[in-house]
Subunit: 273 residues, 2 copies
Amino acid sequence: MPQNEQPGSEFDAATAVRRAEGGGLVADLRPGWDVGDGVLNGGYLLAVVARAAVLDSPHPHPVALSAGYLRATRSGPATLTVTPGRAGRTLAHAHVVLAGGEGPCLSVQTTTATLGADEPLHAVPPPDAAPVEDCLPAAGQAGAPVAVPDVGIRHRVETRLDPATAGWTAGRPSGEPVVRGWVRLADGRDPDPFALITFADSLPPTMWAMGVIGWAPTVQLQVLVRALPAPGWCLVEARAGEVAGGWLDEDYRIWDSTGRLVAQSRQLARAPR
Amino acid sequence: MPQNEQPGSEFDAATAVRRAEGGGLVADLRPGWDVGDGVLNGGYLLAVVARAAVLDSPHPHPVALSAGYLRATRSGPATLTVTPGRAGRTLAHAHVVLAGGEGPCLSVQTTTATLGADEPLHAVPPPDAAPVEDCLPAAGQAGAPVAVPDVGIRHRVETRLDPATAGWTAGRPSGEPVVRGWVRLADGRDPDPFALITFADSLPPTMWAMGVIGWAPTVQLQVLVRALPAPGWCLVEARAGEVAGGWLDEDYRIWDSTGRLVAQSRQLARAPR
């Protein structure tokens, strides 16, 4: 079994990349990871790209991935084309293109490295958040509010929304584009860098907390993995900054169960109308 | 004269991209844009890439650039290889590789679009900052503190450091990895998206404000241009988040003279030792 995988994990199977006859890398994109209308979640797709990046790297961990999302991507067979960049003792660069039946879907600059266990010299502490047991189960679980669409990703990433940022689920949007919640893989697998990449685009769009409901398709997404996460739930906070001219930026910060910042992301997305 | 250029601007000349015989794109990287030891500033290099991206795009403005920095880059002739991605009415994707004498230097995912003048639905207000006339001229100008290295970029991007985040220039580091200042092109040219891309990596490393002096080479840098800037000085704030294991993230936010957020960036860098 390749490193970073756990027996029987649906996540590992769904993100698996293998070398086909002829030497090219292929994957089977799973329909269960959709965000609606059969369109797959951007974080899930980026985790598949990260698997390809480490296959051809001397380093085991994806630490920076910057992706252009060229088109909405659906389930089915996909190819991954890795163009290695420079590689050294500290890190390795590559460029990866994920292509599905309709053509190239993600074009990604990847950096892999070997994450250690050093204590931070400067840390980003987690925000105050309600404990998991006081949070709202999102769609896909018993007691979930009907306002959260019951799409595939909610069954794959178990999500508990912090009531402080979940007013929109009960028709009372806060007006602030912030959504916070606890997440873990529904298959019981502990988090690792690949799971963190998926989590970094897993919450409902932050504009929903402003009462603006609709798609917010990702244009570019950069994910940084900063440390190996401890087992257990991760706390995820998504926050939009500037919303203007049909565009918004959305930042994610992810802390592990010990309160350490383990990943962060920023995306430019199209704003819902 | 191509769009987005002003007569006699050194910045425009230094970032110019032209089509060579045979159809390939070339540039002459200028030695004056260095950060020391002849190594060129990452924002300057990314502005050159942005010029190439718009040359082959139906849209005039670079709105998102995500770059992997493969090696330290020095002045001299360079080639730019643009692989167009999908293009539509709203935006166009491309992948651009900038290569110098030693090989590929930057590998960049680019998105171009047409920025408008819409009012923000949600805005990021500027921080409190001392007015330009109360700020410290950085190296390259009369009265500059000796602690700021007198490198090329300081003569090309006029920089006035906010005293509140400049204690380190007088041997009194604040301990917080934040540096703020006003910037403009030294050639008198007003800011535009290309200048903003340069500004997005133009301040001294934020770790210097923690009293940790040294290089902080960029590994990946994502710049988002959010609006066309008004004429005049831009306020730039750089802030590191997590510093751990030899890595740090650094965020830039840039406001124009009217106080509107016009650009933002995030980079993963190697931390100075």
